[in-house]
C-alpha cells in the first residue's frame, strides 16, 4: 500500500471485502480521474477568480477566508459521506448543528467555559446521531423518514431552547480561536480541525474494517449480512459518526460566529448532500470518497467567494450555482466513463 493518497483511497472504495485483485486497476484509474476532474473544476474556478478579481482573490487573506468558511460545512460533509456510502441519508445534519450550537451556548453551559461548550456540542451531536441510528438500525425506519423527523424535532427543540433569541458567547477562549491572533503558521484553527477530520475520515474509510464494512453495507446490505457483518450495528455507528461530525461543526460555528442561534446550519443537509454527490459518491451507496466530498465543499465555497467578490446579485448567484452543480457532475461523469 504505497500508492499516492487519492489512488489508495480510490482503490479501497471499490474493493469491497468480496472484491479481489483484477478490478483493482480500473477502479484506481476511474476514481483517480474523478478526483482529477474535480481538481480541474476547482482550478478553473481559481483561474476565474484570479482573472475577475486579481487583487483580492489570490491574496492569503482570501485563501484563509475560503478555507475557514469551508470548515464548518466540510466537517458535516465528511460525516455525510460515510452515511451516503452506506446507502443511507442524513437530512438532520443542519438541525443537529443548530441544536448542538444552541445547547452548547446556553448560559449554564458557558459557566463551565471552553470545555463545557465543546463537550456539550459533541455530546448533543452524538446524542442526536444515536437516536437516528437506533431508529434506522433497530426501529427499521427508513433513513429518509427517521432523519426527516430528527430535522423537525431538532429545529423545534433548538427554537424552544433559545426562544428565538441569539445566544452570545461570553467565553473568551472560544472567541479568541476565531480571531487572527490564534492562527497557527498562518492557518486558522478551524481549518486545522477541518483538515484533521478529513484525514481521520479518510483513514477510517480506507484503512479500517469499519470503513470496509460501511462500503459493503452500502453496496449490498444482504450480502454484507451473509458475509458476517452486523449490518444493524454498523448503521447505528454510521449515524453516530455523522452526529459526532455535526457536534464538531457546531463547535466550529460557535467559534466563527461568536454565538448560537436556532437558525444555524440552515440548509446544511442540502449543501452537504450536494458536495458528496459532486464528489462522486453514489447516492445509492457502495462507492464514494472523502477526497471527492471535500473537493466538492471547496468548489462550493470558492464559487460563493467569487460571487461575493464580484458583487453578483442573489438571483444571479443562485442560477450560476445551479448551472455549476450540473456542469461539475457532467464533467465528472464523462471523464469517469471515458477512461
Amino acid at each position: 500500500m504505497t500508492q499516492p493518497a487519492p489512488a489508495a483511497e480510490a482503490a479501497t472504495h471499490k474493493s469491497t471485502p468480496a472484491d479481489g485483485g483484477s478490478p483493482w486497476r480500473t477502479a484506481f484509474a476511474r476514481a483517480d480521474v474523478r478526483t482529477l476532474s474535480l481538481l480541474g473544476v476547482l482550478a478553473a474556478l481559481i483561474v476565474i477568480g484570479g482573472i475577475t478579481q486579481p487583487d483580492s482573490f489570490l491574496d492569503s487573506d482570501n485563501v484563509q477566508l475560503i478555507l475557514t468558511q469551508a470548515s464548518v460545512i466540510g466537517v458535516v460533509t465528511v460525516g455525510m459521506t460515510f452515511v451516503i456510502i452506506s446507502g443511507g441519508i442524513d437530512l438532520s445534519v443542519g438541525a443537529i448543528v443548530a441544536l448542538a450550537s444552541v445547547w452548547a451556548t446556553t448560559v449554564a453551559t458557558q459557566e463551565y467555559g471552553f470545555a463545557g461548550i465543546l463537550f456539550t456540542a459533541v455530546i448533543v451531536g452524538m446524542g442526536c446521531g444515536l437516536v437516528n441510528g437506533l431508529l434506522i438500525a433497530y426501529g427499521a425506519i427508513v433513513p429518509f423518514i427517521a432523519t426527516l423527523a430528527m430535522l423537525a424535532a431538532g429545529r423545534g427543540l433548538a427554537l424552544q431552547i433559545t426562544d428565538g433569541k441569539t445566544q452570545m458567547v461570553t467565553v473568551d477562549g472560544v472567541l479568541k480561536l476565531g480571531e487572527r491572533d490564534s492562527y497557527i503558521l498562518g492557518i486558522p484553527p478551524l481549518v486545522l480541525v477541518f483538515a484533521a477530520v478529513t484525514v481521520a475520515g479518510w483513514l477510517i474509510l480506507n484503512r479500517t474494517t469499519f470503513g470496509r464494512r460501511s462500503v459493503a453495507v452500502g453496496g449490498n446490505a444482504e450480502a454484507a449480512r451473509l458475509a458476517g457483518i452486523d449490518v444493524r450495528r454498523q448503521r447505528l455507528y454510521l449515524y453516530l459518526l455523522s452526529g459526532l461530525c455535526c457536534g464538531i461543526a457546531a463547535f466550529l460555528l460557535i467559534i466563527l460566529s461568536g454565538s448560537g442561534q436556532n437558525t444555524n446550519g440552515n440548509l446544511y443537509e442540502l449543501d452537504a448532500i450536494a458536495a458528496v454527490i459532486i464528489g462522486g459518491t453514489l447516492l445509492s451507496g457502495g462507492r464514494g470518497t472523502i477526497t471527492g466530498s471535500v473537493l466538492g465543499v471547496l468548489i462550493f465555497t470558492t464559487i460563493q467567494n467569487i460571487f461575493a467578490l464580484n458583487n453578483l446579485e442573489t438571483a444571479t448567484q443562485q442560477i450560476a450555482k445551479g448551472a455549476i452543480i450540473v456542469a461539475a457532475v457532467l464533467v465528472q461523469r464523462r471523464s469517469a466513463t471515458t477512461t
Binding site: 487573506d61 426562544d163 433569541k165 466563527l256 454565538s259 436556532n262 440552515n266 458583487n311
Partner: protein, 346 residues
C-alpha cells in the same frame, strides 16, 4: 410605570403624526373644540373599561424581532385588567395560520390582531373575520385587500432605508468620493427590496457618495458573518456600511472584528438590544441603528382594545381609531440611545 406611559404616549404621538394627512383630509373645517368634551369620554385610557377578548395570531418566533413582537403583544395585554388575550402558537406556515385564525373566529373573540406569515395569503381569512363582525388589526405584513382589516399598523421598510441613507449621507457629506457598502437582508423578501430602494433614494441626495457593493444575507448570524467577511475581502476600503438587520449584524460585527477592520462606520437595522448596547459602549464600528420598532405589537393591542371598547385614541380628534398607522424608522445613535434602550430586543 412612568416609563410605560411615556412610551405609550410616544407611540400614539407617532401614530398621530403618520396619519396627519388622513386627519387633515377628514376633519374638514368643523370646529374641533366644540366636540372635545364629548370626545374625551370616548378616548381609550388605562382605566378598566368594557371587557375585551383579543385574538392574537402571531409569527413563529425564530428571529429576535419576531420574538419581540410576541413578547410586546403579550406584555401589553397583561397590563390591562379588561383585556383577555387568546394567543395562538406562532406559525410561519400559511395553512396552519389560516386554521388558527379560523379557530379564533369560531371562539368569537371581540377583536383579532394578526401578523400574517404572508399578508397576501392570509387575506381571505381576514375578510372572513371582518364579515363575521370581528374587526381585524393587521400587524406589519399587510393584507392584499383593505376590506380584510379595520386597521393596519406596521413598520416602514422604505423609510428604514431612507433614514439609514440620510444618516450616512450627513456623516459623509464632506468627504470626497465616499464609498458605501450595503449588507442587505433576505433577498426573497419584498421588504428587503424596499429597504434597499429607500437607501438608494436617500443617497441620491449626496452626489459625493457611491454605493460600491451590495450583498444579501439571510437575517441570521451565520449568514451575516459569512457574507460580511467576503464583502470585507472584496472592498479593501469604504467609508460606511448599512446592514439591514441587527441579528445578522451580530455575525457581521464578528466578521469585522475577525478581519481587524475599523476604518468605516456601520449603521444597523431593527433595534436589537445588543446593537444598542454596542452603540452606547461606542467601542466598535457600529454607530447607529435604524428602528423597525417591535413595540408596534403593543400598539396593536392598544388599538384592538380601543376598537373593542368603541373608543378613539388619545391625542387625536377622531372618534374612531385610524385605519392606517405607519411607525417611524427613527435612527438611534449615541445621542439618544438611552431613550430607546428599553425597546431593544434580545
Amino acid at each position: 410605570m412612568p416609563s410605560h406611559t411615556s412610551r405609550r404616549g410616544l407611540l400614539f404621538g407617532a401614530a398621530a403624526l403618520s396619519t396627519g394627512a388622513l386627519i387633515t383630509g377628514c376633519t374638514s373645517n368643523e370646529s374641533k373644540d366644540d366636540d372635545s368634551d364629548d370626545k374625551s369620554q370616548q378616548v381609550a385610557d388605562d382605566r378598566p373599561g368594557k371587557k375585551v377578548t383579543i385574538g392574537f395570531a402571531g409569527p413563529q418566533a425564530d428571529h429576535g424581532w419576531l420574538n419581540a413582537i410576541n413578547d410586546n403583544a403579550k406584555k401589553r395585554a397583561e397590563k390591562y385588567a379588561d383585556v383577555t388575550l387568546e394567543a395562538t402558537e406562532g406559525s410561519n406556515d400559511t395553512a396552519a395560520q389560516i386554521g388558527q385564525v379560523e379557530t379564533l373566529i369560531n371562539k368569537k373573540v371581540d377583536v383579532l390582531v394578526v401578523l400574517p406569515a404572508d399578508g397576501k395569503a392570509l387575506t381571505q381569512v381576514g375578510l372572513k373575520a371582518m364579515r363575521a363582525g370581528i374587526p381585524v388589526v393587521n400587524l406589519d405584513r399587510v393584507f392584499a385587500s383593505p376590506q380584510a382589516y379595520r386597521c393596519w399598523i406596521g413598520g416602514d421598510n422604505y423609510g428604514m432605508g431612507l433614514s439609514a441613507g440620510h444618516y450616512i449621507g450627513e456623516k459623509l457629506k464632506d468627504k470626497k468620493n465616499a464609498r458605501v457598502v450595503e449588507l442587505a437582508g433576505l433577498d426573497n423578501l419584498e421588504l428587503t427590496k424596499q429597504r434597499s430602494k429607500g437607501f438608494d433614494d436617500a443617497l441620491k441626495n449626496y452626489p459625493n457618495i457611491k454605493k460600491v457593493a451590495r450583498q444579501a444575507a439571510d437575517f441570521t448570524v451565520e449568514s451575516g458573518q459569512s457574507k460580511m467577511s467576503q464583502l470585507l475581502q472584496a472592498q479593501k476600503n469604504f467609508d460606511a456600511l448599512w446592514n439591514h438587520d441587527d441579528d445578522q449584524g451580530v455575525g457581521a460585527l464578528r466578521a469585522i472584528k475577525q478581519a481587524g477592520r475599523d476604518d468605516f462606520l456601520m449603521v444597523g437595522g431593527a433595534g436589537a438590544l445588543s446593537a444598542m448596547q454596542a452603540i452606547e459602549a461606542d467601542n466598535s464600528v457600529l454607530k447607529a441603528t435604524v428602528l423597525y420598532p417591535p413595540t408596534m405589537a403593543a400598539s396593536a393591542i392598544d388599538l384592538a382594545r380601543a376598537l373593542g371598547q368603541g373608543k378613539g385614541i388619545n391625542g387625536m380628534a377622531e372618534f374612531e381609531i385610524p385605519s392606517f398607522v405607519t411607525c417611524y424608522s427613527a435612527v438611534v445613535d449615541k445621542e439618544n440611545v438611552g431613550q430607546y434602550m428599553s425597546t431593544g430586543f434580545k
